[in-house]
Symmetry: C3
Amino acid sequence: MEKTITLEKLAALVDGEVVGDAAVEITGFGPLDGAGPGDISFVVKARYAGQAAESAAAAFLIKKDMEIKGRTVVKVDDPYFAAAVIQNHFLQQPFAARGIHETAVIGNDCMIAEEITIGAQAVLGARVKIGAQTEIYPGVVIGDDVVIGEGCCIRANVVVEDGCELGSRVTIHANSVIGSDGYGYATDRYGNHVKRPQLGIVRIGDEVEIGSNTSVDRAAFGVTWIKSGTKIDNLVQIAHNCEIGENSLIVSQVGIAGSTTLERSVVLGGKAALAGHQRIGAGTMVAGGAGVHGDHPPGSRLAGVPAFNAKTWFRAAALFQKLPELFRDVRKIKKMLADRAEKAGSPDSN
Amino acid sequence: MEKTITLEKLAALVDGEVVGDAAVEITGFGPLDGAGPGDISFVVKARYAGQAAESAAAAFLIKKDMEIKGRTVVKVDDPYFAAAVIQNHFLQQPFAARGIHETAVIGNDCMIAEEITIGAQAVLGARVKIGAQTEIYPGVVIGDDVVIGEGCCIRANVVVEDGCELGSRVTIHANSVIGSDGYGYATDRYGNHVKRPQLGIVRIGDEVEIGSNTSVDRAAFGVTWIKSGTKIDNLVQIAHNCEIGENSLIVSQVGIAGSTTLERSVVLGGKAALAGHQRIGAGTMVAGGAGVHGDHPPGSRLAGVPAFNAKTWFRAAALFQKLPELFRDVRKIKKMLADRAEKAGSPDSN
Amino acid sequence: MEKTITLEKLAALVDGEVVGDAAVEITGFGPLDGAGPGDISFVVKARYAGQAAESAAAAFLIKKDMEIKGRTVVKVDDPYFAAAVIQNHFLQQPFAARGIHETAVIGNDCMIAEEITIGAQAVLGARVKIGAQTEIYPGVVIGDDVVIGEGCCIRANVVVEDGCELGSRVTIHANSVIGSDGYGYATDRYGNHVKRPQLGIVRIGDEVEIGSNTSVDRAAFGVTWIKSGTKIDNLVQIAHNCEIGENSLIVSQVGIAGSTTLERSVVLGGKAALAGHQRIGAGTMVAGGAGVHGDHPPGSRLAGVPAFNAKTWFRAAALFQKLPELFRDVRKIKKMLADRAEKAGSPDSN
């Protein structure tokens, strides 16, 4: 369903200022090399201005200090962000409820909103509650007593275990698991491991998105908590009793051990590893592959294994490949000093 | 269903000695900050004794050399272990067989115990054997000729491929895969890879627990073997023909390459990587993130990439961030020596 | 179904030269320690010649410069590769179409070849096209408008999202996800993340094999492309807009960030990480655990984090554990020079 909107109204969505024909009608959004004549596009860097000048697009989102000769533009603070808002505007569709598929299996005493889509072969346990405009994809398995808010999207073959609570507008991608048991054992004197029961749940805030093949473990007691606005990539491990602050970004293959707390707006690069029982301050950024131990204050920048200040790490890491040279130099210096000491008959050579 | 047991009988379960009222009736287990008046709790460290003194709990599991003033306690060797045993005692429920769900699909010639639960949409191949008191969750797919013992718990959307054998009291968490093909190819002179058929199976011993989203590959020939009592976390990769010794602990996101053998009671920290065709001695502990090559004797302590003695690694790793300083020092020394040599007209400067 | 073939004909399949009785009939393939009297086996290294001499096998694939006394052999360039070809010859079976299982759910307007197997509880969206001799296992979920070629094998509980395109003879192992959303957000001044829509697809070439629990994300715009002949292991992450060249090998737990291009025949060792927006030249080999940034020319050999020349890395890494010693040496040298300078009243000590 095509949408048409004047450039003036589009600009208002992103606090933008039109330079050129504000009455032009825009029908879609496209990247620079794919935009058609009714589309709006965007330019993040000045060096793409030339490419933009030749694009078929009707208008461009650009930075306030930029221009594109002879073309209609919308000046904004952050063209990248404005592009996301406008692209979402064109893609937004009213929710089309398709009801509960005849092959889905619904447990006793569930409370499911009327405006719902539950796909083929999905299985819901007992006493599950699901809000309006949520879509449960085929093959999803939802345990007993799970609560899912409004406008959620639970994609194919996801598993949400007993008792977990999801907020509204949560998206979970295919084959992820919410609420598997935490990894906790006590070991006897013979080396046998006895399972520590995992009785807590996972709670997920609003607007959280979780990638595919990711695991979020339930708490031993209490709650493993992913707070609102956080975005988690594929193949991530969140252990029991973690608390992930609002608006954090957790990139693919990160692993976070048990009972670690991230304050808000923490960014963890791909494959970063966090030890258990630590507190990572708000706004901390951890480089990909880092291995973080201990508490870190807000705004930390960390890299390396074990992780320390990222700037220092980059300097140290750049020198690593010169280690063979350094060892050679020190060997030579030792020899030279020993030779001189010998010549001088000095006792301080070693 | 609430259970009531005297403290005396509880203490007997964990070889404990009651100090205080052994006749008090205990109805549950709780953590220090959550225990109610009928509960038993536990104290691992002396510094929590104060918190315990104010807890509502009826009694506490403590170490033999500890006490909590004015409170009833059970003295044991290891309160952490005793707590797990007692918590499991209260949680244990008789198996409630719910039979085979009407939407499950069962292949020909299966032998399934009567006391069984097979969930909705589960699919069993031909000639599958399953022991009593096992629960197969919804969406599980079991291949032909699979054997599963008694008291197992195969959670939602797990896949167990053809011919694999599981012992008794095995738990596999959601979306894990047992018996996917090993990764083996032969490459022709043009760079095309021809698959080496993967004809073996996976065998899993008793009391093994495997986390969610974990992959255990079948052997090329023979068996990939996870021995009894081993506990594996989420998102772990076990390649073809590995043999994992009894009572090992394999933490999240570990990867073990093909044909590697772990002897018993090996502990692998999160994200550790083991190369193929090696033997890791009994009781070895590998730090998180380590990359292990070559054989290692029993009792090894390993860290780093490539891994070596953990103690040495911790020392070396602590110095890593001082590399820039060290390079600066050596540069200065070289310059100083060169200057002196020049002054002295000596030929040994370089 | 047993196959019988003369050694002469078998040898012709692998450009081999028979030394001994070419008319002997071969009925199967086995490893040295498992081959029976009708089997052919193979010897990769001369040191196994003795074991071969005592094997029950009827014949052996060996290198051209080897021999096994008194035994019939087939001399080939690469016995390992020839073994794979011959083993596959014996295992190959005609496709046995079992049709569409009655519990499978098929969307509107699908075009499915007649010679097909679609397993129990599988779900296909609308307008899906599937070629002949493809097998869809139980629990698989296929989105709308997906195209799957001939002779593919999509194993249990795999999810292929809307619009993705698979070539012919593609195998995807259990619980993998093809076409989950790429990880892309734009962040406003308050730290809220707005999703950048992910509108592209995943395209997979012929003869690609993908392991279990692997995630391949769809492009933001355009195509994430896995080209023909590439083999991907378990638990791998391929981000949006990556392009993976023909005949590449990507070992378990590798992660590749967005918009990175691998040219043909690249090999990535287990757990290697590649940053986004880079180009890795043809035939490059990356060691396990490496963290690769920036473009690299064809034939590169990389190791380390951040990765550099592998040979240099191995030398530097071997020295890493001697860092404590090196720091001690430099400290001593500094002290010695300071002492001498003091004695000499020289101003150059520091």
